[in-house]
Symmetry: C2
Subunit: 136 residues, 2 copies
DNA sequence: CCCAATCATGACAATCATTGTCAACATCTA
DNA sequence: TAGATGTTGACAATGATTGTCATGATTGGG
C-alpha cells in the first residue's frame, strides 16, 4: 500500500498557491478550476488558468483537496477536512457538501466483492440531492 | 417521479442501430462509443461516429444499456440485463463486469440523506477490483 | 544581503471526446 | 408506392484539460 508522499511536488510556496488555498478555505462547496480562476481574476489576480489547473492537481495528489467528477465530466475541487476515507452528499442545487463516513458501505462492498471472487476491491460512491435549504 | 417513457425516442429500426445492438450482445465488457465505431468500420460498416454517439445515448435513455464513466471522463456502454436499479463490480484488468443489487446501500443512502435534511436523493456507486481470473 | 539554481508561472497552441448542423437518405404507414 | 418524417453522416464547433517554453519568482548557500 504505497502511502502517498506528503507533497514532494509543490516544493515552493507562492502567491498563487496561497491564493487558491485561501479561496478554498472560505468555501465549503465544490468548485471547478475555471470557477476558481474566474474568481481570482475578478479579485484582481493575474493568475493563469494553467496554473490553477496544475495547482489543483497537485493539491489533489497531496490529499489536500477532494476531487469529484460532474456528470458532464468536469473536475470539481474542495478542501477536505477528514483524513479518513469518506463520501460526499452534495446538493445539486447549491453545491453545499456534507462529508459522510460509510462503514456500512465499506463492509457491503467487501462482502459483495468476495462473494464474486474479486480481490483488491475499491469503490466510488457519491450521493446527490437537495439540501434542506434548497428543498423549500 | 417521472417514470421514463419506454423509448419514445428511437421510433425506427435501422441497420446502424441493429449493428450496434448486436455488437453489444456479443460483448460483456464496457465499450466506448469510439471503440464501437472503430469495430464497426473495421467490419466494413460505413456508420458515422456521430450516429454511434447518438444511438448509445438513446439506448442509455431507454435503459437498454448501462453507462459508466471512466476516470478520464469518457463514457462506456454495456448492454444491461437487469431491469431494476443495480451497480457494477468491474474487473480493472479484463473489464469483466458483474451486476449486483444493493438494497443495503439504497437504504443506507436514504437514511444518511434524511439525517442531513436532504431530499430527492440519488446515488452513484461503482466497485472495481480484480476478478478471480485476473487475481492469479 | 546577493546570486545562482531551479521550480513555478502564464500566454498560447494543441488534444480529444463529445455535440451541433444540415442536406441527403432510409423507414414506415396509409 | 408515395410521402411524411425520423435518421444518418461528413464536417465544423465546442470546451475542458494538457503540453510547451520563455520569463519570472523563490530559496538556500556563500
Amino acid at each position: 500500500m504505497a502511502t502517498k508522499p506528503p507533497a514532494e511536488n509543490m516544493a515552493r510556496s507562492t502567491k498563487q498557491r496561497t491564493a487558491i488555498l485561501e479561496l478554498l478555505e472560505h468555501d465549503d462547496a465544490f468548485r471547478s478550476a475555471q470557477d476558481l480562476h474566474a474568481i481570482l481574476r475578478e479579485a484582481g489576480s493575474k493568475i493563469g488558468l494553467t496554473t490553477v489547473y496544475r495547482t489543483l492537481q497537485a493539491f489533489a495528489e497531496a490529499d489536500i483537496v477532494d476531487v469529484m467528477r460532474l456528470p458532464g465530466g468536469d473536475h470539481l475541487y474542495r478542501l477536505c477536512s477528514a483524513e479518513e476515507h469518506h463520501h460526499h452528499l452534495v446538493c445539486r442545487s447549491c453545491g453545499r457538501t456534507v462529508e459522510v463516513a460509510g462503514p456500512t458501505v465499506e463492509r457491503w462492498a467487501n462482502k459483495v466483492a468476495a462473494d464474486h471472487g474479486f480481490t483488491d476491491v475499491g469503490h466510488t460512491l457519491e450521493l446527490h440531492g437537495l439540501c434542506a435549504e434548497c428543498s423549500k
